[in-house]
Symmetry: C2
Subunit: 600 residues, 2 copies
């Protein structure tokens, strides 16, 4: 299945010229709209857009003479014509959806271009997995550009991924038709210390003339930041404060401000434009991560633009931040991001520039959504077995696999326990005294067991530790093959039998999330593609995810966004304490530590 990239401007220039010159009829004319011009930053009333071969041929006050008997005429009826919205940085896997189903969910919200970093699948399936995402992306009726993941593993030496991404992989990916640049360079200490592998990935991207995505997740704006910038990343979406955004733009990066399902970084940073008056051209909006529930209930880039406007941003500037600014950043300003000749005919009709109702969405000249309903097919890639069978446990797990043996002769132990903190990505490194029973240390009080189950190579290895803070009660276990970033399986439970049941269940269904109580499955979200994504519609996935959340509450866990906490417990780049296939990792010192604290 070789994907065919959308024809380039020069492929269709003769047709565009004929229509623009009024010597040939357009395929489609949008008539009588308000032209939202993101180049001049104006709204111009009374314009028509003539489209041919999926691209804009001309935008003129009157395109009547470009209308032939076969021309599709769309009456704008005085509504605003705005460019299709661009999401400048995002992970499709966060929606637990394949690219096709993600596209189907966001097209009705007016998103027609996405810059996606398939970092999660890269950890599971390596370059081959990235290629599958890339290929499904190119099948879609909208523009999904792929950023080549840069950091798998995220924490070399501290975890074992399914595959590792190399600089050669990056160089190879740069030749693919849908690759737009390098995905977020998360190894910012590596760049700041001139790590040769990281610099080789950046160099391969720069030499290909493509854009290096950044990720500088530190409040330190001193020499480390300066060194990171000098390394070459061209943007950053990890800023959280106005000073972060300003620092990035001043240093010649673009500041990507995100509003995701759990990211709220627009309001705190957009004041750099709305209050400090900085040139807005280097500010860009993105989502980074959206759950399927957000897509179903709240929207996608339309939600971000609305929010920016609600934060006091001029609507035209907010739209620029989601259209032309993004296009320019990725070297695509003559391909997408504005309603001007030669560009892909990605057009939204909306009757209000503040509320931004997405009434009609046209992508590449074709009506793709109308009043919130998709009107087009989003073809599925033929995912091979290698992508559908990624949960390799080595053997059926039992109670025994989850046993934690106490030191010989101990009646109690002092254990290093991962402390979950509500609404925060960082955990706490706790020390807690735990009782020993029959030579084992088991779940007790609010302390549950956590297990990292190797699932990529079928080694059968299980790494056991303790976690506190979920509030689970009764005999339960929850398991997930979404386990950032290496995506083994994380099982949290108050009972080892339930833990074995949950883990085996995910092996059976090919991955996902499940919750067991007293031997019965309470909820299941199947994620058969790489154990990360479903190829079912977003609505179904969102419903199952919601049922899962309700089941977690019923099991005593009332933390906000508790599932996300669960899936991040192996993220060995965020402090303080995490679990990996190598053991318990202290992310303050980037060292493996023992489960039990040595006692005098």
């Amino acid at each position: 299945m070789a994907p065919i990239p959308f024809p380039a401007w020069p492929d269709v220039a003769p047709a565009l010229i004929e229509v623009a010159a009024a010597r040939a009829p357009a395929d489609t004319v949008i008539r009588g709209g308000k032209w939202v011009n993101v180049h001049s930053r104006e709204v111009l009333d009374g314009y028509d857009i003539a489209i041919a071969r999926g691209r804009i041929a001309c935008v003129v006050p009157d395109a009547s003479d470009r209308i032939g008997p076969d021309t599709q005429v769309i009456e704008a009826q005085g509504r605003y014509m705005i460019p299709g919205l661009c999401d400048a940085h995002m992970h499709i896997e966060s929606g637990m959806l394949t690219p096709a189903e993600f596209a189907r969910a966001v097209i009705p919200h007016g998103t027609t271009s996405m810059f996606t970093d398939p970092h999660e699948i890269a950890n599971v399936l390596g370059l081959e997995g990235v290629r599958m995402m890339h290929d499904e992306a190119l099948l879609q009726p909208v523009n999904i550009f792929t950023q080549m993941p840069s950091c798998a593993p995220s924490a070399p030496g501290l975890e074992t991924t399914g595959y590792e991404i190399t600089a050669d992989d990056v160089a190879q990916a740069m030749t693919w038709p849908g690759i737009i640049g390098l995905g977020e360079m998360m190894n910012f200490p590596g760049v700041a210390h001139a790590d040769p592998k990281m610099l080789a990935e950046i160099a391969a991207t720069q030499r290909a003339g493509k854009t290096v995505g950044g990720h500088y997740a530190s409040p330190d704006l001193g020499p480390d930041f300066a060194a990171y910038v000098a390394g070459g990343p061209a943007d950053d979406h990890e800023g959280t404060k106005e000073a972060d955004a300003i620092a990035r733009v001043r240093q010649g990066m673009r500041s990507m401000m995100r509003l995701g399902s759990a990211w709220y970084d627009v309001e705190s940073q957009i004041t750099a434009v709305t209050e400090k008056g900085l040139d807005p051209r280097n500010f860009i909006l993105c989502t980074d991560d959206c759950h399927s529930g957000t897509l179903i209930n709240d929207g996608h880039m339309n939600r971000v633009v609305r929010h920016a406007i609600a934060c006091g941003c001029d609507p035209l500037i907010a739209l620029q931040m989601a259209t032309i600014n993004t296009a320019t950043h990725f070297g695509l300003e003559r391909d997408i991001g504005s309603l001007t000749p030669g560009r892909r005919a990605d057009v939204i009709l909306t009757s209000d520039l503040t509320d931004l109702p997405i009434e009609l969405v046209i992508a590449r000249g074709q009506i793709v959504a109308e009043n919130g309903e998709i009107r087009v097919d989003c073809p599925h890639y033929n995912w091979p077995d290698t992508a559908r069978q990624t949960v390799h446990l080595g053997h059926d797990l039992t109670n025994k696999d989850f046993e934690i043996t106490a030191p010989e002769g101990a009646n109690s132990v002092r254990a290093n326990v991962i402390g979950v903190v509500e609404n925060q990505a960082p955990t706490k490194a706790l020390e807690m005294d735990l009782d020993v029973s029959d030579g084992l240390v088991g779940p007790q009080g609010d302390v549950a067991q956590i297990a990292l189950v190797e699932r990529h190579k079928g080694t059968g290895e299980v790494t056991n530790a303790f976690v506190s803070g979920f509030g689970y009660t009764g005999k339960m276990a929850m398991a997930s093959t979404v386990a950032h970033d290496s995506h083994h399986m994380i099982v949290v439970g108050t009972d080892r039998d339930q833990m074995a049941l949950a883990a085996n269940r995910l092996a059976e269904v090919g991955g996902g999330v499940t919750l067991y109580v007293d031997g019965a499955e309470q909820a299941l979200v199947e994620l058969p593609i790489a154990g990360l994504m479903s190829d079912s519609p977003a609505r179904d996935v969102a419903a199952k995810a919601q049922a899962l959340g309700e089941a977690m509450v019923a099991t005593g866990c009332s933390l906000n966004n508790a599932y996300m906490q669960h899936s991040l417990l192996a993220l060995v780049v965020i402090p303080e304490l995490r679990i990996s296939d190598k053991g318990l990792i202290d992310v303050r010192s980037f060292e493996k530590i023992d489960l039990f604290v040595p006692q005098d």
Copy 2:
């Protein structure tokens, strides 16, 4: 002589990182300046710039810890640090100087990047000549990017150039290290009518990911303009009115506003920004054509920026129009155009943002000019004989070559006469009654003879006609091998002996401009490179050009810019009447016409 392009960011990233992180000393530190930040559009007081390997490593409030024993320290003393200025579209040949000598003339004015279209030499020497310009450009201590000329000949069928540029030439040039895009696509009727050759040149450029320069020299903003835009040109510098600039920007092109020696298109267009309030990011400043005298007496891009400010433009916005806007347009925003990490260290120190005195110029980290004096070598290319011997007359010309024979038996004739109009590029197509003497029609009254002398192939052909309006008196002739666009030789004279003397003289010196009166040479500007350029310093060329102008005045010609009028008389794309090697061309109908008007 294989030119070595300046090292790219990834070539030197490790060195930049070490300096930025303060682990290694910088090569150069500029200390204590006001950072003119064209990304955020701010002036930030009290910053240092650390430079390594010719690129900026970091811009920080205090770079003391990046200063080592061998670090060159430049004290900004509170002055403004602005990015080196960029000329977005220009022809080096217009200065009658080689790239090296042009660079030497403009570096003290703060120009550190030029986007040059060697259109003139392309007509004389074809792709090989373009390569020579390109190669000398890459030898310079500043950034001279080459736009591949698109239109030689300018008027196919109406003139014979030395060489023709093909779409294959364009595709080949796109692989050269210093090629940045396609030079101005002047054949706008061709593009608007989907001429396959023009579209093939544009396509080759677009597919190479490079920028297509535009040239739409018509006030018509209707379907022809729409069709031209749909063809792909990304910019245009031919606008003269505010409406032109606005139309281009709205259609997704960049509006290049020029102030050249004879172009005054900034004041009339910049109101699109200063009064209409359009987003300034798509407006760019350029010179297009500067004579050596302008470079010596008035400046270069500093003159344009000053002028834009004098027209009411905010200084920071004017500077953006000559730095980052240009860089972004050509896909170079991470290489030049701002004072931020990774970019070439092209820095100007100035104590005033309005008057813009160019006090110190640093290019690629090296001091290249100080208080108006060049401080660096601008290496010459080893121009081969093919470039130095381009005036091929076939034989020594004599009086006879310039004879215009009257129709058999006529006592007088009605002739088509080229009418020169002061300060206008278009000429008038005049009909005048002329006397016949000895069977010949010679100069009489204000009617001089004009001859187009073939000089590329040595055919010995001379095309004779009449011109009116120069006001020459006595027995004189003026000859020039600068003869846009095909650059044969134009000789204008009141006496055929003088015409022969002048023409032969240019063959002797390898091209240039000469003026003869009564058998004695009054002035000579030698242009030995392709008959277009001198490799002498701009000051010498300007002095000779001035002497030439004074000699023209002494010979009775007091037209403003009369030499330019002379050199444009073969420009068979501008109405109404021109001369080419094919004869007299009526540029209203694009047809060859007879010298004599048929009479009843």
